[in-house]
Amino acid sequence: MSPRARLLLFAAGAAGCAALYTLAVLGLPGFGGPFHPYADRAVRQALEQGTANAVASVTFDQRAFDTVGEELILLAAAVSALVLLRASGREETAAGDTAAHGPADVPDALRATGRLLLPPTLVVGVYVVAHGHLSPGGGFQGGVILGTAVHLLYLAGDYPALLRLRPLPLFEAVEALAAAAFVGVALAAAGLIPLLNTLVAAEVGCALVLLIAQFFTQALLVHEPAEPGGTGGTGGTGGRT
C-alpha cells in the first residue's frame, strides 16, 4: 500500500473509532463523580482484612490471580529475551575471541557517585517492598528499584563489578522459583501480602536484571570498536577482532 493510501485508510478508520469512542465516553458517569461501586466494595474488604494499603489488598489479595498472570508474563519475557537476543550474541563472540570489558574511562566523580548511591538505593528498595502493605509501594515498585540499583555500577563505568554482582544463572533460578512460589501461594492462600510482596520483588528485580543484561550484551558486543586487550570507550571494550 502506498503511504497515501495507508493514511487515507487510517483516517477513515480513525474517524469512525473517534466517533464511536466519543459517543461511548459520553455514556460514562461524569469525571470525578461519586459512582464507584467496585471501589467501595474493595476498600471495605481491604479494611476488614486489616490491610491499610487498599491497592495492595486488591493486587495481592482480592485480585491476586491477575497478578499471577502478570508474574507469568515477566517470567515468559525474561526467558524469551534470552532466546530472542541469543543468536546474534553467539555469532559476534564466535567471530571474535574473549570479550574483555575493562573499567571504562569515566570521571572519578561519576564513579564515586555511582558506588555511593548503590547501598542507599538498595535500602530504599527493600523499604518500599517491606512496607508495601502499609504505604504506597510494594513488590513491583521495590523490585524495579532493586533491579535498577545494581545498574548504577554500569553508569559508574564499572561493567566488571556489575558482572560480579549479577551471576545470571542464579538470577534465572531465583526468578523462576519466585514466580512458582508466588503462583502457589496466590492460588492456595491469597492474602499473605508481605510474603507475596517479597516474592514479587524478587521476581521483578531478577526479571529486570535479566532483561537489561541481554540488551547490554548486545550493545557492548555490537557497538564497541575492536580494540583487543585495551581499555577505553564508554562501556568497556568488546573483543571483536
Partner: protein, 586 residues
C-alpha cells in the same frame, strides 16, 4: 481445587525447567514437560466429566459473590473441552519436538508450558480483566515462541508484526473493559452481564465496549481485516508451535468473542458484524490459501479461512450453531495439527517448504504422506470428520436465521482450502522429482536434517490425522446440552453468582443427516477438482519463467498482505470502525 491445578501444574513445571534447565539432561526436561501436559489433559478431562451436570466454579482466595470482589474460575463443558484440546495438542507437539530441535534449550519447554497455562487461564477466567491478562500472557509467550529461531530474518520480521498487532488489539480490549467497568463497576463476566442486561439496544457505550473488546479477540481469531499477522507469524514459527497456534490459539479468539458476547453483551448487542467479518476472512483466506506455494503459509491461510467459518458459527449465537462450531473446532484443531506436523517433517528432511522444490521428494515418507492426505480430507469434510459434522449441524441451525449463504460459503471454503492441501499432497508425495538443488533460504530446524524421521516425529501427526477424521463421532447429546448451556447466559451467571445450577433446554442436532452427507460428498469432489486444477496452474507457473497468469486479481491480493506494520495498523483501525458500523446497523 482441580481448576487451580490445571493452571498450577504447567506453571510449576515451567518454573522448574526455567530454573534448572541448564543442568537437567534433555530427556528429563522432555519427560517433565510431557508429563505436565498429560496431567493437564487428565485434569481437564476430569473437569469435563464433572462439568457435564453442573458448571464448576472456583472463587480464588476465598472471595465470592457475597463479598462483591474476587475472581472466579469457571468451567462449563465447552470451556473444559477447549482446555482439554489445548493440553492434548501441547502433548502432541512436545512428543514431536522430542527429536525435532537438536539443539533446543529448556527454554522451549518452559515457553510451551507457559503457553498451555496461559490458554487454560484464558478459557477458565470468569473476569474481563483476567481474560485480558491471560490474553496478553498468551501473546507474550507466543511472541517468544514465534521468534524462537531469531537467526532467521523472516522469523523476526513475522514475530514483530505479530507482537505489535496483537498488543494493539489487546489494548483496545482493555479500553473496552475499562468502559464496562466505568459504567457498571463490575469486572466479573457474570456480574457485568447482569448489570448490562437492562441496557437498551443501541446504547453507545455498550456497543463501543463490545466492539473494542471483540477487536482484540478478533485479531487473535484472524477475522478480516485483522488477519494479516497470522500468515506472517505461522509461516515462520517453529512447527510444534504452529500446531498450538493454529490448533488452539486462534480458536481462543473465537471462544473469547462467543463467551463475552453471550454472558456480558448478549441482550443489548447483535453479532451480525462479527458474522460479516468472519465470512470475509473465510473467503479471503480460502483464495489466498490456493495462491500459496510455501506449505506453512498455505496452511496458515487455511487457518484464517476455517477460523472465519467458526466465527460465523458462533455469531449465529444459537445452540445448534455453537454445537456445530464445536464439532468443526475439534476437527480443525486435530487436522491442522496433523498437517503442520507433516509439513515440519518435510522441512526437517529436505530443508525447504517450497512446493516446487519438494515435488516428488515425499515419496520416501509414506506415513507423512498419509498424514497429509488424511488431514486434507478431514479439512475437505470427509465423514466422519469433525468438519463434516460441524458444517452440517451449523448449516441446519443457521437456516432458521435466513443465512442461506452459509452453505455455499462453507462448501467453497472447504473445497478451496482442502483442494490446496490435496494439491500439495499430490505434488510432494505423488509427483516426480524435478531435480536440481532446492533454492529455499530456510534451514532445517534440527541443525542437520535427520536421515530418517524418528517415530516420535511421525506418530503424533498420524494420530492427530486419524483423530480429525473421528471427531465427528463425538456423542451428539452431551454436546447439544453443552452448547445449550454455553448460549444461555443464565446457565453461566447462576452458578457463579448464586451458587446454584441452571440448565438450559437442549435441541437435538443431527450431524449425520442425509443432506449433510450429500453436501460432504460434493465438497470432497470439489476439493479434488480444485486440487487438480490448481496443480495444472502451478505446473504452468513453474514452467514459465515469470508468473503471467497470476493476473490482475491475485497481484493486488498478494500486495495487500505486504508485511508492512503500518498497513496492518491502518487495517486494524479501519476494521474496528467497520465492526462498529456493522454492529450498529445490524
Amino acid at each position: 481445587m482441580i481448576l487451580q491445578l490445571i493452571l498450577a501444574v504447567p506453571v510449576m513445571t515451567a518454573a522448574l525447567t526455567a530454573a534448572a534447565g541448564r543442568r537437567l539432561p534433555r530427556p528429563a526436561v522432555d519427560a517433565a514437560a510431557l508429563a505436565a501436559a498429560v496431567t493437564v489433559a487428565a485434569l481437564a478431562a476430569l473437569t469435563l466429566a464433572r462439568a457435564a451436570d453442573r458448571t464448576r466454579v472456583a472463587w480464588l482466595g476465598g472471595w465470592g459473590p457475597a463479598t462483591g470482589v474476587g475472581i472466579p474460575l469457571v468451567a462449563d463443558p465447552l470451556a473444559a473441552a477447549l482446555a482439554l484440546t489445548a493440553a492434548l495438542l501441547t502433548a502432541a507437539a512436545l512428543v514431536y519436538s522430542w527429536r525435532y530441535f537438536a539443539e533446543v534449550h529448556a527454554i522451549f519447554h518452559t515457553l510451551m508450558l507457559l503457553l498451555l497455562a496461559a490458554m487454560c487461564g484464558f478459557v477458565l477466567a470468569g473476569d474481563l480483566f483476567t481474560q485480558f491478562m491471560f490474553f496478553e500472557l498468551t501473546g507474550v509467550v507466543a511472541l517468544g515462541l514465534t521468534g524462537y529461531r531469531s537467526e532467521e530474518p523472516d522469523t523476526v520480521h513475522g514475530a514483530v508484526n505479530f507482537g505489535l498487532i496483537v498488543s494493539l488489539g489487546a489494548y483496545l480490549t482493555l479500553t473496552g473493559v475499562a468502559l464496562v467497568y466505568g459504567r457498571t463497576g463490575q469486572l466479573g463476566l457474570a456480574a457485568a452481564g447482569r448489570a448490562l442486561a437492562g441496557a437498551p439496544p443501541g446504547d453507545a457505550l455498550v456497543t463501543a465496549a463490545f466492539v473494542l473488546i471483540c477487536t482484540g479477540y478478533l485479531v487473535k481469531a484472524a477475522a478480516f481485516p485483522f488477519h494479516f499477522w497470522l500468515a506472517d507469524a505461522h509461516a515462520v514459527a517453529p512447527t510444534p508451535v504452529c500446531v498450538l497456534f493454529s490448533g488452539v490459539m486462534v480458536e481462543l479468539g473465537v471462544y473469547g468473542v462467543a463467551r463475552v458476547h453471550t454472558v456480558v453483551f448478549g441482550g443489548p448487542v447483535p453479532l451480525g458484524g462479527v458474522a460479516v467479518l468472519g465470512a470475509a476472512a473465510a473467503l479471503l483466506g480460502a483464495v489466498m490459501c490456493v495462491l500459496q506455494t510455501q506449505v506453512k503459509r498455505l496452511l496458515a491461510y487455511s487457518t484464517i479461512s476455517q477460523s472465519g467459518l467458526l466465527l460465523v458459527g458462533v455469531a449465529a449465537a444459537s445452540p445448534g450453531a455453537v454445537a456445530g462450531t464445536a464439532y468443526a473446532l475439534a476437527g480443525h484443531a486435530a487436522a491442522k495439527g496433523a498437517l503442520f506436523l507433516a509439513a515440519g517433517a518435510l522441512l526437517n528432511r529436505h530443508g525447504t517448504l517450497d512446493e516446487h522444490d519438494l515435488r516428488g521428494r515425499g515419496r520416501a515418507m509414506p506415513v507423512v504422506g498419509a498424514t497429509f492426505l488424511l488431514g486434507g480430507l478431514a479439512l475437505a469434510g470427509l465423514p466422519p470428520g469433525g468438519q463434516a459434522a460441524g458444517h452440517t449441524v451449523t448449516e441446519h441451525a443457521v437456516r432458521g436465521l435466513g443465512w442461506w449463504w452459509y452453505l455455499p460459503l462453507s462448501v467453497a471454503v472447504s473445497a478451496l482450502t482442502a483442494g490446496a492441501v490435496l494439491r500439495v499432497w499430490a505434488g510432494v508425495f505423488r509427483g516426480t522429482p524435478a531435480g536440481g538443488p532446492p533454492g529455499d533460504p530456510h534451514e532445517p530446524e534440527t541443525g542437520t536434517g535427520l536421515r530418517h524421521a524418528p517415530w516420535t516425529m511421525v506418530a503424533p501427526g498420524i494420530v492427530l490425522a486419524a483423530a480429525a477424521l473421528l471427531t465427528g463421532l463425538l456423542p451428539a447429546a452431551p454436546l447439544d446440552r453443552a452448547a445449550a448451556r454455553f448460549t444461555d447466559p443464565r446457565a453461566y451467571t447462576a452458578p457463579v453468582l448464586d451458587g446454584r445450577a441452571a440448565d438450559a433446554a437442549a435441541h437435538p442436532s443431527h450431524p449425520w443427516a442425509a443432506s449433510g452427507l450429500v453436501v460432504s460428498a460434493v465438497t470432497v469432489a470439489l476439493a479434488v477438482l480444485v486440487a487438480a486444477a490448481a496443480r495444472r496452474r502451478v505446473r504452468r507457473r513453474a514452467a514459465q519463467a515469470a508468473p503471467r497468469t497470476a493476473g490482475r486479481i491475485t497481484r493486488p491480493l498478494h500486495a495487500a498482505h505486504s508485511g508492512h506494520i503500518g498497513d496492518y495498523a491502518a487495517w486494524l483501525t479501519a476494521g474496528a470502525a467497520l465492526l462498529a458500523l456493522l454492529t450498529w446497523t445490524a
